[in-house]
Symmetry: C2
Subunit: 219 residues, 2 copies
């Protein structure tokens, strides 16, 4: 029974939404199109009407998620005056908040992490890598600016600070996503960010009590 254009788009979206849940629960390769169809309340016929196969569905799912506002950091770096490190830390913290609150992104990232990339979904891997590379480049620029303006502790270089932050965020999110999200991502993550950025900052030999208050150990 033919539906109106809007209804068709609706079922298409419901299929993508169902695929997200099913792929997340069973893994992409373990999930069958029958599973997805059942979860979406349609038959495989509907899926094959809207998508050519499972790989295509996966790609469309991947494309459907509005990827993070990549220029958030970029714009904030331009701010000439104040401490760049604060902006980076805030951006990282905000990213954690969004991740903690956005189940869609959680599922998508988990699927991507667990996905064994066969040749046919190699474009996904490449796009993922491009996004990562851009983020890393932005971070390096930001840390370079921080260094130029004297905010970066001499112990760190822009590259090493970028990598430390990147790896820590990656390890944090991986553990949270892959091992059942059994801790408070935003809280623990921000706590870690606070410590790490504390070490990023330049601490003058004469201890300034006003700023060093941020570096007190937390019980």
């Amino acid at each position: 029974m033919r539906r109106t254009k809007a209804e068709a788009e609706e079922t298409r979206n419901s299929i993508i939404s169902a695929a997200e849940r099913v792929f997340f629960e069973k893994g992409v390769s373990n999930a069958t199109l029958e599973d997805v169809a059942k979860a979406a309340g349609v038959t495989r016929g509907a899926i094959y009407w809207h998508f050519s196969n499972k790989t295509d569905l996966f790609l469309e799912l991947y494309n459907s998620v509005p990827m993070p506002q990549e220029d958030m950091i970029a714009r904030e770096i331009e701010e000439p005056g104040s401490d760049v490190l604060c902006y980076i830390e805030k951006a990282a913290g905000d990213w954690l908040d969004e991740m903690a609150g956005d189940e869609h992104r959680q599922r998508i990232l988990t699927i991507l992490l667990r996905c064994a990339y066969s040749e046919d979904l190699l474009p996904v891997l490449e796009r993922q890598q491009e996004v990562d590379d851009r983020h890393v480049a932005l971070l390096e620029n930001a840390f370079a600016k921080a260094r130029k303006e004297g905010y970066l502790n001499a112990n760190w270089t822009p590259q090493s600070a970028t990598k430390a932050l990147w790896w820590m965020m990656g390890g944090l999110c991986s553990e949270w996503l892959l091992f059942g999200r059994r801790f408070d991502l935003a809280a623990e993550g921000k706590e870690g960010l606070k410590r790490l950025f504390g070490s990023f900052r330049h601490i003058p030999a004469s201890i300034d009590m006003a700023t060093s208050a941020d570096f007190q150990p937390v019980a």
Copy 2:
């Protein structure tokens, strides 16, 4: 044609070895027992003789890898005199060396990372988690000792230092393993460790040139 006991054990091992390679390349759920059999130079009959099914084979593969010497850190912590942080950093660096040089462990960990845990391989997940928890506990003890003996910078607590190190190592290895190992794990990792542990250490207000040489930025 019946083989001798030693020969049978040999084929069993070759099956496990083949499973390691095949699971790594195609992912556990995409890999078929026919693939494994072909890679091992046997038929599925041999596999079903030695293992009850694919899940069982996977579990035996997981059990076959000699898991890391967990007490390495534990023993070194006991050393009463010198800087505990040096031991932890060295242990972490050694771990990276071993990982970089041990293709078995690389494949196993990659398989585990990419594996979508269905209910039947839940024991693997749990064991993995136990190992991780023990490692984290050891690290916390070590950092606690470092703190007690005055080596740990006031910016850090034993818990936060443990988490920062753990997450950084996790993110580092995840990126290396999941994205094609396209950088020098040991070199870049140790560089990062050097910076991080530099910030872990207590830097007195009066700058000691002898030790601060370690904290110069590296080109």
